[in-house]
């Protein structure tokens, strides 16, 4: 199973990732890829551009705090 053709860009910063993502409405973020890549290979998903955020160390953290967690606090 081979995905449809796509462009690939590795973001060097969060700002660059946002810019790349905003420049192409069919772009998708690639992080772990373990959901996205199988769906691409089955051709259920055909992004024109993958923006790889896998090397953005800025995003590589889990922080604990006393604050609330919730989408609608």
């Amino acid at each position: 199973m081979i995905p449809a053709a796509f462009e690939y860009a590795r973001a060097g910063s969060v700002d660059e990732a946002i810019e790349l993502l905003g420049g192409d409405e069919d772009a998708k973020l690639l992080a772990g890829g373990h959901s996205l890549i199988p769906t691409m290979r089955l051709r259920f998903s055909r992004p024109s551009l993958l923006v790889d955020i896998g090397r953005l160390d800025d995003l590589r953290y889990v922080r604990a705090s006393d604050g609330p967690i919730g989408a609608m606090p």
Partner: protein, 132 residues
């Protein structure tokens, strides 16, 4: 990534099972961390070190994890074995002395349809004792 490894580089030790990230047969290491190579684009490994099962033995001397799988009879058909060996190396790097529960949890992304996992767990314990 696995297509580059197998078709272009001729490293046929990396087996593909499910081709959908479920079974772990295709596990390799990227910079020492296990990944399922059927679901990694080769470009994601650009500039990083990829280790396949071919890269483990030193000449005729098996890697300690390979030796442990051999001695503990941790395989039957062997199709899942390269993935298990590499996942074990990654697990023991993170946790050099895992409990049985930690081993089973750590290898839950790898499926074996022959052995029932018992000897695989024993092999990981033996490899840990050997300081792998």
């Amino acid at each position: 990534l696995h297509r580059i490894l197998v078709d272009r580089l001729g490293l046929t030790g990396t087996n593909v099972g499910c081709d959908t990230t479920s079974c772990g047969a295709c596990t390799v290491l990227i910079d020492g961390e296990s990944v399922k190579s059927c679901t990694v684009f080769a470009v994601q490994a650009d500039g990083r070190e990829v280790t396949t099962v071919e890269g483990l033995a030193q000449g005729d001397e098996l890697h300690p994890v390979q030796q442990a799988f051999h001695e503990q009879h941790a395989l039957q058909c062997g199709y899942c074995t390269p993935g298990f060996v590499l996942a074990t190396i990654s697990l023991l790097k993170e946790n050099p002395n895992p409990s049985e529960a930690e081993i089973r949890n750590g290898l839950e992304g790898n499926l074996c349809r022959c052995t029932g996992y018992h000897n695989i767990v024993k092999a990981v314990q033996a490899a840990a004792r050997a300081g792998a």
